[in-house]
């Protein structure tokens, strides 16, 4: 993963900060990254209706920012970080909306809100094992076991302290293992 080539940048732009991929390079990156990010946003965010928005916003931010020249792996980490931060923002917006609607929070956490069935546009697939995890647990497991991100990256993406990732990941994994046991789901049978 670490030996992936650098994302090709436009020749017409000056060297250093402020360079973006040219359109062909962007399309190639998009073809590789967008389906993965969409899957992540749908399954971890739990809101199929927001996943498209979040992924599009991720790429817009990537294009309008000034990313330095990055390897493919660094670019993916960068995109996942933006997507994760955007999902966290959306969960916070949901919390504000609920307050404005006059529904008391009653000590609920952001995780509780986003995980609540019927919170709006919940992906039907998520009504199974994944839906029983909190969004943060889903994100932790996905980033570590699907994307293979190191704990340091996961901590940065989720705004956690690096040492706590190991413990939280362990708890999330135990929880999912128990859920899979109860549901009688074997590996490869989601």
């Amino acid at each position: 993963m670490g030996t992936a080539p650098a994302v090709r940048l436009s020749d017409s732009e000056p060297a250093g900060a402020g360079r973006v991929p040219d359109e062909a390079a962007f399309r190639a990156l998009y073809a590789r990254a967008a389906p993965r990010l969409l899957g992540y946003a749908r399954k971890v965010g739990g809101r199929a209706d927001l996943a498209d928005d979040v992924v599009q916003e991720t790429f817009l931010r990537y294009l309008s920012a000034d990313p330095p020249a990055m390897t493919e792996d660094q670019t993916m980490a960068y995109l996942y970080r933006i997507t994760t931060r955007l999902m966290i923002d959306r969960w916070r917006e949901s919390e504000r909306e609920r307050r404005w609607l006059g529904r008391p929070m009653g000590g609920e956490t952001l995780d509780d809100i986003a995980a609540e069935p019927g919170a709006g546009g919940l992906d039907p697939d998520l009504e199974d094992a994944l839906a029983r995890l909190k969004p943060r647990e889903r994100a932790l497991l996905w980033l570590a076991y699907v994307e293979g991100r190191p704990h340091r990256d996961v901590a940065r993406m989720l705004g956690l302290a690096a040492p706590s990732v190991r413990v939280l990941l362990f708890r999330a994994r135990r929880r999912l293992a128990r859920i899979l046991d109860e549901a009688g789901l074997a590996p490869g049978q989601p």
């Binding site: 969409l38 992924v55 490869g188």
Partner: protein, 159 residues
């Protein structure tokens, strides 16, 4: 079960890339933590493959156009901020000079200030204020107000 085994990331990677070494495979078979990690990782990776296959991302061409536009806006904002830097520097310097001048004037013109106070309260019997005292004070106040206003506007302009 231990909190976590240090080989878990390798196990997840081996599953993802379908590349197991004999050593890692035999470790995973004997380590409860790695076995559980392998089971969960395999399930999640299958979910991810399904989600990726179902994904229908938006048209990249449209996204590219919007991205180029957004980038241009950011670039122009940056240029505008850079162009406004000397003006900002001048405003800040003017505010500092006006403030220093006011303080210096107050420190060196005790009699004048007393006279001005008397002039303002219309006590003609003790008033020795000269018209330029009032002008100086008014000028200083005006300069400070302008500097404060400019600073406030500058703050509002910032993205």
């Amino acid at each position: 079960m231990r909190l976590a085994c240090r080989h878990e990331p390798e196990v997840a990677r081996a599953l993802r890339e379908a590349r197991w070494t004999d050593e890692l495979a035999s470790h995973a078979a004997s380590c409860a933590s790695c076995r559980e990690a392998a089971r969960v990782a395999a399930w999640l990776q299958a979910v991810a493959l399904g989600a990726e296959a179902d994904a229908a991302p938006a048209d990249p061409g449209r996204l590219w156009s919007r991205g180029v536009l957004a980038r241009e806006v950011v670039r122009r904002q940056r240029l505008a901020r850079r162009a406004a830097r000397p003006v900002l520097w001048f405003q800040r310097t003017a505010a500092v000079v006006a403030g220093a001048a006011t303080v210096a004037w107050i420190a060196t013109s005790g009699t004048e200030i007393r006279g001005l106070t008397a002039f303002i309260v219309n006590d003609a019997s003790t008033g020795i204020a000269s018209p330029w005292s009032l002008g100086l004070v008014a000028g200083a106040v005006l300069a400070l107000a302008l500097a404060a206003g400019a600073a406030a506007l500058d703050r509002l302009d910032r993205p």
